[in-house]
Amino acid sequence: MNAKVSNKIATAILYLIAGLVILLLAGLLGFILFNGVPHLSWHFLTSPSLAFQAGGGIAFQLFNSIYLLFITMLISFPIALGAGIYLNEYAKQNIFTTIIRTAIEILSSLPSVVVGLFGFLLIVVKLKLGFSILSGAIALTIFNLPLLTRSVEGSLKSIPDLQREAGAALGLSKWETVIHVIFPAALPSIVTGVVLSAGRVFGEAAALIYTAGQSAPALNFSDWNPFDAASPLNLMRPAETLAVHIWKINSEGIQPDAAQVSAGASAVLIIAVLIFNISARWIGKVLYKRLTSAR
């Protein structure tokens, strides 16, 4: 075949494929938003879910998702930051580092359901924490750690060595250089990584169904003592999140309006991911401007 003709045919096919994929992706997003957004209302977002009747909301699930995300980030960020700093600043090229790098890579490729089952076995059953926010947060931390560590490491790596040399030239120790020079310089991109991983954690369900549980007991939003059973802040209560709720009502639920509730909940999840994606970039940019003299 003539090279020019085949070039034209191939280009046409590539246009076709790209067009189909755009259509598919746009259709997907459109479907979720088109079906879900009409169900969103203040009532839907703020009223508890109903097991047997129509008209329930997602108030507790939404709160659980946000609270669980917060606790997860509280646990996983310091660990990931430490591990990332060690990997990029201290680790030497030796067998110990290679093994740990491999371990992190393996952890990041584990199916989330396996992480959830491990959490169930160790935290829920062996450590007797039961189905609770704390168990769920630990499972999500395990799920989140490898990617967050890698993103912290990448952020630190992008800081030129010149900065480290400048720190050393001023007589700072390595640790002081990291804390006072490298970390602030890397902060915008670290924050971007954290917010992006938050989006991932927010929608995770498989790691949670056997750790944070599949029930959302009623919460009393006027009771902020974390040790009361009905307090929203209680760490030891079972907490069904939004993503788990979608799965639960679609596979076992008997609500007459399960499809509507899940459409609405899906739209909330997508909008949350969208917000996380946009704000990650925005916060990174703003921080960069604030912390450096870049205009």
């Binding site: 997003l29 899906s266 994606n277």
Partner: protein, 306 residues
């Protein structure tokens, strides 16, 4: 004199902080390694007790075609053949990867070579957003769109291999595409220029030079997508039908390792044989994710040599 001597020989505050910082960051890293080791230890010890405590033959387990842990067969042995789930998982993973690959490569080539402007302005953000969409949302869409569609076209319940494949295809497409885009972007610019300079058409440059140079990266992207598909639990569980039988055809209900796991763990008693066999399924999942990891490493190594 003694004072100066002492202050010189004493560990300075900066050194103490240095040691503190170094050890605390190292502790964080070791914690991650310990977590990985304990995941393997706990899942393996639970999963292997099927064979060591409940005395089930490994081969019977892997090749048995009936899965009904609560009853026993004619010989008084429990019916725990995991073959239907293993076949189901592999079938759905491979099929969805086969469908996703041409679309992912085509879109990635379009985004990097044909129309980089539209690619980075329109497609890139959409794909990044789709990578982040929770898998339950994909499952829910599968349940409301694809299952009724399959029921309408092929009859039956609508749940099955085909529905699972389509859901996973849509789910891994953004991931594979964005990874392929990264690979294509990392192909040096002078490859394109030299191909065009010796008179190649754009398609010849893409097909004979760029795609060849990017092959290891593209393969990695595909294997990565397969690993994600293999380990996906809830989205598949919602549409696959969860019937632990060997699928007779593409529209018949099936089950995957993950779908039986998520369904069963809550309904069995810890320590019982019915529960142990589920942990064995989890162990298979764990080992398979290890295998995918090794394949990705091998591809990476082979790509390096060239």
């Amino acid at each position: 004199m003694d004072q100066i001597r002492e202050s010189l020989l004493k560990t300075s505050i900066a050194t103490k902080r240095e040691r503190f910082g170094r050890s605390i960051t190292m502790a964080a890293l070791i914690l991650i390694a310990v977590i990985v080791i304990s995941i393997f230890y706990f899942i393996a010890s639970k999963g292997l007790s099927t064979f060591f405590v409940d005395k089930i033959n490994v081969w019977d387990f892997l090749s048995g075609k009936t899965w009904n842990p609560s009853s026993t067969d004619a010989h008084g042995k429990p019916e725990v053949g995991a073959l239907p789930m293993i076949v189901g998982s592999f079938l759905i993973t491979v099929l969805s990867a086969i469908i996703a690959t041409p679309f992912a490569i085509g879109t990635a080539v379009f985004m990097t070579e044909i129309s980089p402007k539209n690619g980075s302005r329109i497609l890139q953000p959409v794909i990044e957003l789709l990578v982040g969409i929770p898998s339950v949302v994909y499952g829910f869409i599968g349940l409301t769109v694809i299952v009724p569609l399959q029921r309408h076209i092929f009859g039956g319940s609508g749940f099955g291999v085909l529905a699972g494949t389509v859901v996973l295809f849509v789910m891994i497409l953004p991931t594979v595409t964005s990874m392929t885009v990264d690979t294509l972007r990392s192909v040096p610019h002078y490859y394109r220029e030299s191909a065009l300079a010796i008179g190649a058409t754009r398609w010849q440059a893409i097909y004979k030079v760029i795609l060849r140079a990017a092959t290891p990266g593209i393969l990695t992207a595909i294997v990565f997508g397969m690993a994600r598909a293999f380990g996906e639990a809830l989205a598949v569980q919602m549409v696959v039908g969860n019937a632990p039988i060997l699928p007779a055809n593409l529209t018949s209900p099936a089950a995957t390792l993950t779908s039986i796991l998520t369904q069963g763990i809550g309904n069995t008693v810890m320590g019982s044989m019915q529960n142990d066999v589920l942990w064995t399924l989890a162990l298979i999942l764990l080992l398979m994710s290890l295998v995918f990891n090794i394949i990705i490493r091998l591809i990476g190594k082979k790509g390096e040599l060239k």
